[in-house]
Symmetry: C2
Subunit: 205 residues, 2 copies
């Protein structure tokens, strides 16, 4: 049965463990790819262009936004972040699922455009655990930590805008749930060419 | 996060392999139970009362229907079939998922009553495979086989009324998909007490 690829949006506060979950998912599940975001912020240590992000100059980024080459984009803490359109749309048209890691603001913009998206929110097991994770990185000022905690709280306030929630208290269970959500969405009648399938099914009599 | 139990409805034409799939699912998945249907048809060889069906006299069945003790019921080929209400509602209220094996007519009745149900249709890989299965039992008259084939075709015509479709061309894949659908539905934000969860999450600060 032919179907278009899914657009899976994964959100959750900074420090909840989205990257670890995504890497595990992509390592074990076939037919789904990670869509790399574009940003104008400078690479952090170890980050590679075209792997972690597409790192663009602001001029290039804004030219892409103007040309409609970004599915969504936003300004946050002095930098631009966005989702390149062609990779996502090309994959979906070929029937390959795509997963995005974006914040609640970007997800809300996508939700307006793409009714068929799959919106998943990753929740930390407790506020204490999240604060520990955010403080634990140990290389931020108290002011920057406060800002990240405030932002985490704002992100979590959008949980009810999502279709699915995964509690990240056990990584193995969490990745199993994300995998199940994607597998279940692939089985949705509305996502499959059921009319074409039934025509072929009965034609062979 | 507390949630009510799911009501999972599995339909599919006679001979598609619903029983095998259900038995595998129930053997490997926790937190879900099979809801036994009630019927007035006599037990077939090997069928046990309270295991395969609740076998009732027509009078008792109709008295239950009158008293509102059946979630749905229908008359088919001279016999009544229905879903006892108390088992299903009790399990769901306690947060235990329930799975039902009912035909498209019964499923349509349930869909009207229970918006939150999960409706899954099991499809045979091909019409030829289904016909072979139906003929293969070898103990039916040609007339009875024709009737069952006609009925199978009618059932399949209702595929698009369902939320999920599973193609039963590989039993292991099919049971994995059914399991994924149930797991994904458990993760749905609307099915969980998200407001209560968030209040507790932030109260602990």
């Amino acid at each position: 049965m032919f179907r278009r690829g899914l657009l899976v949006v994964l959100s959750g506060p900074s420090g909840v463990g989205k990257n670890t979950l995504l890497n595990l998912l992509l390592a074990r599940m076939a037919g789904i790819r990670y869509s790399i975001s574009a940003t104008t912020r400078p690479p952090r240590a170890g980050e590679r262009d075209g792997v972690d992000y597409f790192f663009f100059e602001p001029e290039k980024f804004l030219a892409m936004a103007d040309a409609g080459e970004l599915l969504e984009w936003a300004h946050f803490c002095g930098h631009y972040y966005g989702t390149p359109r062609s990779y996502v749309e090309g994959s979906i048209a070929r029937g390959t699922d795509v997963i995005l890691d974006i914040d609640t603001q970007g997800a809300a913009l996508l939700k307006k455009k793409l009714l068929e998206g799959v919106f998943v929110f990753l929740m930390p097991p407790s506020w204490q655990a999240l604060e520990q994770r955010i403080r634990g990185r140990g290389k931020d000022t108290e002011e920057s930590i406060k800002e990240r905690l405030n932002r985490a709280r704002e992100e979590i306030d959008h949980l009810s805008d999502y279709q699915y929630v995964i509690l990240n208290d056990d990584l193995e269970r969490a990745v199993g749930e994300l995998e199940a959500i994607i597998l279940a969405e692939r089985c949705k009648v509305v996502r499959n060419d059921v009319a074409g399938f039934l025509a072929a099914f009965f034609a062979k009599n």
